[in-house]
């Protein structure tokens, strides 16, 4: 009798996660997958939000760096995880450029993963190297018409590559892409005067390498308020901010999604978080889950169109 009772209790425990409600989520450890190597901006954001969520929930939130294949390995891993909110993914805007340009991704970036909440929006800058002594986007257009201009990218189809091709398209110039393994390699050659233009976040500019001439956002950046926006120069179409966001496997229950969204927004908008984000030239975002999902889908469409036009994909 006792044996049967124990069995029934055990069965009940096994069945418990299936009837979890939003009030109870999370009842155990949550895993946050960062599909990039430790130390990068996605990792920094992912660890920050994980740490704060862990404090809020009183549950362990473990960051796993599942690197490989750009960010495809980690993303595919989460897309196949149980859609219960206990396995999450943190990615940045490169998620949309990869989705647009990488053939044969091991998951469907639109169908298999659900955008949940924006962790932060980051400013990105157009900066120029010492060989070009210019101060504005208008100067860049003029220079690019009289001489060969090289810009650095973090690889074919990266956000920097897309930004460069978008600028070529909108500004009517022909800068040539030079591909590097990462943002810091780009900054070394920018500082050495071997390339002329870089598109990067604030962290790459903090070293003083490169002169920021324009910010790729709708509004001026709080860290560099003297740098005009692309729109001020008349090129509003080249607004390409960076974002970091939390994704979940498709099929996560709505109540878990709602709680996750509310909690991410809450921990990222505390004064302490805003101060932390400011050092990264980033701000919190109140974008809803529906808005974020639409934004991600629009970005993928936008990059796919550009990639086809620029001949990056067949």
């Amino acid at each position: 009798m006792n044996f049967i009772l124990k069995g029934a209790v055990a069965l009940g425990l096994l069945a418990a996660p299936a009837i979890v409600t939003a009030q109870e989520y999370p009842t155990s450890q949550v895993t946050v997958v960062v599909p990039f190597a430790p130390g990068g901006s996605v990792d920094v954001m992912g660890r920050y939000v994980s740490d704060r969520l862990s404090r809020l929930w009183g549950q362990a939130v473990v960051v796993e760096n599942r690197t490989g294949a750009g960010s495809a390995i980690g993303s595919a891993h989460v897309s196949q995880a149980r859609p219960d909110g206990y396995t999450l993914l943190v990615v940045s805007s490169s998620f949309t450029t990869n989705a647009a340009t990488q053939p044969s991704l091991p998951f469907d970036p639109v169908q298999d993963l659900k955008p949940v909440a924006v962790i932060a929006l980051g400013d990105r800058f157009v900066s120029t190297g010492p060989r070009l002594n210019i101060g504005s986007l208008e100067d860049l257009v003029r220079e690019a018409k009289s001489q060969k201009i090289f810009y650095g990218t973090n690889g074919v189809g990266s956000l920097a590559h897309m930004t460069g091709e978008l600028m070529n398209d909108v500004l009517g110039i022909e800068m040539e892409a030079v591909h590097y393994k990462g943002g810091s390699e780009v900054m070394v050659d920018l500082g050495g005067g071997r390339i002329d233009v870089a598109f990067s976040g604030y962290s790459d500019l903090a070293s003083g390498i490169g002169k920021p001439i324009s910010v790729l956002s709708d509004e001026r950046s709080s860290v560099l308020p003297d740098v005009p926006t692309v729109a001020e120069s008349g090129f509003a179409e080249v607004v390409v901010p960076n974002w970091w966001g939390v994704f979940a496997p498709a099929g996560v229950p709505d109540d878990v999604l709602a709680k996750l969204h509310a909690d991410v927004v809450q921990v990222m908008s505390t004064p302490e978080a805003v101060e932390f984000l400011a050092t990264q030239a980033a701000i919190p975002s109140a974008m809803t889950t529906v808005e974020f999902t639409g934004y991600v889908a629009d970005e993928i469409t936008r990059w796919r169109g550009l990639a086809e036009k620029a001949g990056m994909i067949e």
Binding site: P38, D43, R47, V156, V178, M187, S203
Partner: protein, 500 residues
């Protein structure tokens, strides 16, 4: 005088009880992961990073840095004792270090590695303290053409890593380059030899190759012949180097230190390339070059000094420019960002305690490592007496954990096993693996820099001769080829004359 005050400030920060403790903890952990094959500083630091959030940022960085250079110390121990490079930077230490162990000089070899590392670490730290800011600009001077020519020089030098047939060494380098080509091509985005497997998009992980070819290959290889290890484990001679050893190691350590100091600053080079270059240089200029590959102390002293000097000076671009030269350095930068410290040239002025405290702690850490390692030599050497039946399964287990931990992928363990099979075949064919590893490291750098240089020069091949740094490397490389082939030509002429 400013420097003096700064160093005082640094020691003041580093000498607090808790920071000394963190430095020690970091060095100890670093030594341990260095000794364990497969588990590298990158995986360890990324696992420990979250723990440091609650710590004072200076203490956190002191500990993480300790892990980083501590692993460069520990890696040599496994290389010498069991013929497995514990770290990628100790691949060349295997060559002469393990030969020394076979001759009963394991203790001397480990002690030499520790002393060489300490001298190099001290010099590297001093350079970092005194010249960090002016030297940082060196990183900007090196462009794609220069890196290409540096790699040409390195690959020509790589032939010297083999003590056997030159033909086989060249063959192994080429195989290494081919293995390095696997993955998405940086310039076109096209996948090469990936067979649709996403895990191969970024190519093979260094740890997979090193563990497979060295560790697995070694274990399998030793099973099929029972040349009993007792033949050399029984006659473990003196543990400490004697006067003659010191006389021979000194010039090698100094040369290794110089090479490592310079290559460490370059973001495109790094620890393993520093130790490869040092070995090639020893093989060319050492008075005892004829003994290299047969257990020469120079083959341990030079590369070990080089990789540790590079480990210290790699902090120069990281701390002063915010430019990480390697994945591990990127992690250190990430740690600073997590603690709300913006990396870059302003760190020196905005967080002087952190900057100088870290530098001072690096010297203290190096001292701790010597104190830690020298008495341990006797214990390490005793590891040789562990029977195969216990040691090898343990090595295989640690290797699998290390390979798995680097990317959380079981696929990598299968890959390592496949490379193990290849490693076994290479042993049977008497092809040495070190040139292959070098080809694997330098091949992709050679290609990307070659193509990048041509993009930047708009297809002008003369760019390699127009850039002064590049030209210098190419001239040295041509000189090496000429001096190596002269005796061959002369010999052939003699043969022709003899036939007449």
């Amino acid at each position: 005088l400013d420097l003096f005050n700064n160093i005082l400030l640094g020691f003041g920060t580093a000498m607090t009880l808790s920071n000394l403790g963190y430095a020690f903890l970091g060095c100890l952990l670093g030594t341990l992961i260095g000794v364990l094959p497969g588990l590298g500083p990158l995986a360890t630091i990324s696992m420990l990073l979250p723990i440091t959030f609650g710590m004072d940022p200076t203490s956190a960085l002191i500990m993480l840095a300790g892990i980083y250079y501590g692993s460069a110390y520990g890696g040599s121990t496994t290389a010498i004792l069991v013929n497995l490079p514990g770290e990628t930077s100790s691949v060349v230490t295997v060559i002469d270090g393990h030969e020394m162990a076979r001759k009963g000089r394991a203790g001397v070899a480990i002690a030499t590695a520790a002393i060489g590392s300490f001298v190099a670490g001290t010099v590297g730290t001093l350079v970092l303290a005194a010249f960090a800011a002016p030297l940082a600009s060196l990183a900007f001077r090196f462009g794609a053409a220069d890196y290409f020519s540096l790699m040409v020089l390195g690959l020509i030098g790589a032939v010297s890593l083999s003590s056997g047939s030159i033909g086989k060494a060249i063959g192994m380098i080429l195989i290494g380059i081919l293995i390095g080509i696997v993955g998405i091509d940086l310039n076109s985005g096209v996948q090469r030899f990936t067979f649709g497997v996403p895990h191969l998009w970024e190519g093979f992980d260094f740890i997979v190759i090193a563990v497979g070819i060295f560790a697995f290959g070694e274990v399998v290889g030793s099973l099929d012949h029972d040349e009993p290890r007792e033949t050399y484990t029984e006659r473990v001679g003196r543990l400490m180097p004697n006067r003659e050893d010191f006389r021979r190691m000194t010039p090698s350590i100094l040369r290794g230190t110089a090479i490592g100091t310079v290559l460490g600053i370059l973001p495109g080079a790094g620890l393993s390339i520093a130790s490869f270059f040092s070995y090639s240089v020893e093989k060319k200029v050492s008075r005892f070059r004829h003994m290299m590959g047969k257990g020469a102390i120079e083959g341990v002293a030079g590369p070990e000094a080089a990789n540790n000097a590079a480990a210290q000076t790699a902090f120069i671009p990281t701390l002063t420019l915010g430019i990480p030269g390697s994945a591990t350095m990127a992690l250190m930068l990430g740690a600073m960002t997590m603690h709300n410290i913006q990396p870059g040239p302003q760190v020196m002025t905005s967080n002087p305690q952190l900057f100088w405290g870290l530098i001072a702690s690096m010297w203290i850490g190096n001292l701790m490592l010597v104190i830690l390692n020298l008495p341990l030599v006797g214990i390490w050497v005793k590891l040789l007496k562990i029977p195969y039946g216990v040691l090898f399964p343990a090595i295989l287990l640690f290797c699998c954990i290390g390979v798995f931990a680097s990317q959380f992928a079981t696929f990598d363990i299968y890959l390592a096993a496949a490379f193990g099979a290849a490693g076994y075949v290479f042993r049977k064919l008497e092809c040495e693996p070190a040139p292959l590893v070098l080809g694997f490291v330098m091949g992709p750098l050679l290609e990307t820099n070659f193509r990048r240089a041509l993009v930047l020069s708009e297809g002008d091949f003369m760019t390699f001769l127009k850039e002064p740094i590049s030209l210098t490397f190419l001239i040295i490389a041509a000189g090496m080829v000429a001096t190596a082939s002269l005796p061959l030509i002369r010999k052939r002429r003699d043969e022709v004359l003899a036939e007449d």
